[in-house]
Amino acid sequence: MTKSVEGADVLADQAARAGTHDVKVAASKVSVFYGEKQALFDVTIDIPARQVMAFIGPSGCGKSTFLRCINRMNDTIDICRVTGSIEIDGANVYDAKIDPVLLRARVGMVFQKPNPFPKSIYDNIAYGPRIHGKAKAGSEMDTIVEASLRRAGLWNEVKDRLKEPGTGLSGGQQQRLCIARAIAVNPDIILMDEPCSALDPIATAKVEELIDELRERYTIVIVTHSMQQAARVSQRAAFFHLGHLVEEGATEHMFTNPSDRRTQDYITGRFG
């Protein structure tokens, strides 16, 4: 456990969190094991509501692993074991009472590679609401589809071809379709696992713009390899290294004045 937050940072943190921003996700001593191998060591972090939190760090540092703990995506891996607690609005998601299916309806996810279903654009969006019984087929569903696509900034581009396959869109459009699909089930939190790593700069800019808009309604956690992206979109950042959370704080502060040597080395490009 090497999280080091100096006195001044604590004050800055508290200032940042004061007012509208309550804690949405509170992780405490989260460790993840793949079989015998420990991938994450005692991560304790608070993620504030309606802000963008960026996880940065070199490959294999555990940032994606931690992200996937929040909506229990790691459950699908047989050998994966998670200890510690992650509370969303005060309820531990690893509690036996929590149904992972309901959890994932509240915590949407966007993946590294755009992965629309090989179905129509409409069905891509409608699938989530349909399985959760959130809307009946027909005009009610049409409304949800339109609202989700609008919120993802994709409506004007696809409104005339909702019946065409989602896989026929460009990479950037596909990724925004995936974001719209996540939005459609009306989650509180959206997890994004390197959402722009497969996109060109223009598509990336659009997605980043979208992330900035979504912050008003959703708590967003984004894993990214790109320092610049973290700086552009996030309000808070957390630096992971070799399975440890090294440092966490306001993005601006971390990028200009990191308190840990490793963070500084990574940000300045000495490794990673």
Partner: protein, 428 residues
């Protein structure tokens, strides 16, 4: 890299190929020649095989028929019961009128040998189907017997000394007279498809075998498709990865390699002897074939499920689909083309399988097509087996013709499988 060799061998202009390069090209060329030679060899073997079968089958495409004017006297046939009349006598009268000089019983028997044995029943069926014919003289066309058919198609060499052929000089003379009178025709041999089996090659057909094979494959599909998919989905998507599932997997793979005759013995012991199911019935054949097809379908389904990219599963789970919904809504539909391809190939294998059907008695001699899957029946491969074993000359070409029919079905099924694979192939 090649600095050293360049330094040692380069003497002429730089673009002149040196000896080592020539050797490399020669080796490339040789290797390509080996490949081409192998393919030419394989293709010519296939061509010889198919060519021989087709050539042998050709005589069975037509059947020699003879047309006689048969008198159907009103006083000999009871209109209320046309079945009971003696059509044998009417035919005999007709033949006697044609050949007034033939009168000894031996000669009459030899004369009748030119015509199919069942002609009287065909005449009866014709009259029963259309009683208005009674009292008229009708053109009655019916098959020649095997020796007549062979003589007409050149299967019997008339220049051989009489004791070396199955037909004597008198019979050849009577046949020649029929030809002179224009009574001999060779229409398309539809009986080959629409007749059931018979002791007489001129009457034998594949209907029973086709219906039997259809029922057996239907049963095979209905059993092995759902069971195979369920087993594969469970093993691939739900089963915990432990020693037991490993053991099951190894056993399924072994099952696919078990010789088919062993499945036949199993079917004999379990379905016939233990459960007391009917012998020779397509339902038992189908069940035995489904045992054989199951591992093929399970293996194909698992491969198809594995080929569905994990990103689709993640996407479904990410929006809150349960495991069952993920599989049912996304993974299985995407794997379906692969599953169907594997199933068709499995069924094609089952269609050609002979050994297990022999053991459960589907090689019985049955002269009627089965009404249901519980009736005794043959199947295509066992029918080929039966005919190949029959001594009459006519069965030689019919065996080959049946093989052509079987191969035709197999080629069609495989073509459908290939078409589906191409049509639904997905690039991720």
């Amino acid at each position: 890299m090649s600095d050293k060799s360049a330094a040692t061998t380069r003497t002429g202009i730089w673009y002149e190929p040196d000896a080592s390069l020539k050797r490399r090209y020669a080796a490339d060329k040789r290797l390509r020649m080996y490949g081409v030679a192998a393919i030419v060899f394989a293709l010519s073997m296939l061509a010889i095989l198919v060519g021989t079968i087709v050539m042998t089958a050709l005589p069975a495409v037509t059947q020699t028929h003879v047309t006689l004017q048969v008198e159907l006297p009103a006083e000999a046939i009871d209109r209320s019961d046309p079945r009971s009349a003696s059509y044998q006598k009417m035919l005999a009268d007709t033949i006697s009128r044609l050949y007034p000089e033939v009168d000894t019983p031996r000669e009459l028997r030899e004369l009748r040998q030119l015509f199919t044995n069942n002609a009287q029943y065909m005449l009866r069926d014709m009259v029963v189907a259309d009683p208005s014919l009674i009292g008229q003289t009708v053109d009655f066309t019916f098959p020649m017997s095997d020796i007549g058919d062979q003589l007409h198609k050149g299967g019997i060499d008339r220049n051989l000394p009489p004791e070396q052929r199955r037909i004597n000089n008198d019979q050849i003379g009577w046949y020649d007279r029929l030809v002179e009178q224009g009574r001999i025709t060779t229409p398309l041999n539809t009986g080959m498809i629409f007749n059931a089996d018979s002791r007489f090659p001129e009457l034998a057909g594949l209907r029973g075998a086709l219906v039997g094979s259809f029922y057996a494959l239907l049963i095979c599909f209905l059993v092995s498709f759902p069971v195979g998919i369920s087993a594969a989905v469970y093993l691939e998507e739900f089963a915990p990865k432990n020693r037991w599932t490993d053991l099951i997997e190894v056993n399924i793979n072994n099952l696919a390699a078990v010789p088919s005759i062993v499945f036949g013995l199993l079917g004999l012991a379990v379905f016939l002897n233990f459960f007391g199911m009917p012998r020779s019935a397509p339902i038992v054949g189908g069940l035995v074939l489904s045992l054989m097809t199951l591992p093929t379908i399970i293996i194909a389904t698992r491969a198809a499920l594995k080929a569905v990219p994990p990103s689709i599963r993640e996407a479904a789970i990410g929006v809150g689909a349960s495991k069952m919904q993920t599989v049912g809504h996304h993974v299985l539909p995407l794997a379906m083309p692969g599953i169907l391809t594997g199933t068709i190939i499995g069924l094609a294998q089952a269609l050609g399988e002979t050994a297990p059907l022999l053991l459960i008695g589907m090689n019985a001699f049955i002269t009627a097509a089965p009404d249901s899957m519980f009736n005794p029946s043959t199947a295509l491969p066992t029918q080929i087996y039966i005919w190949a074993d029959s001594p009459e000359r006519g069965f030689t070409s019919r065996t080959s013709a049946a093989i052509v029919v079987l191969l035709g079905f197999l080629v069609c099924m495989n073509a459908i499988a290939i078409y589906m694979r191409k049509r639904f192939e997905r690039k991720w």
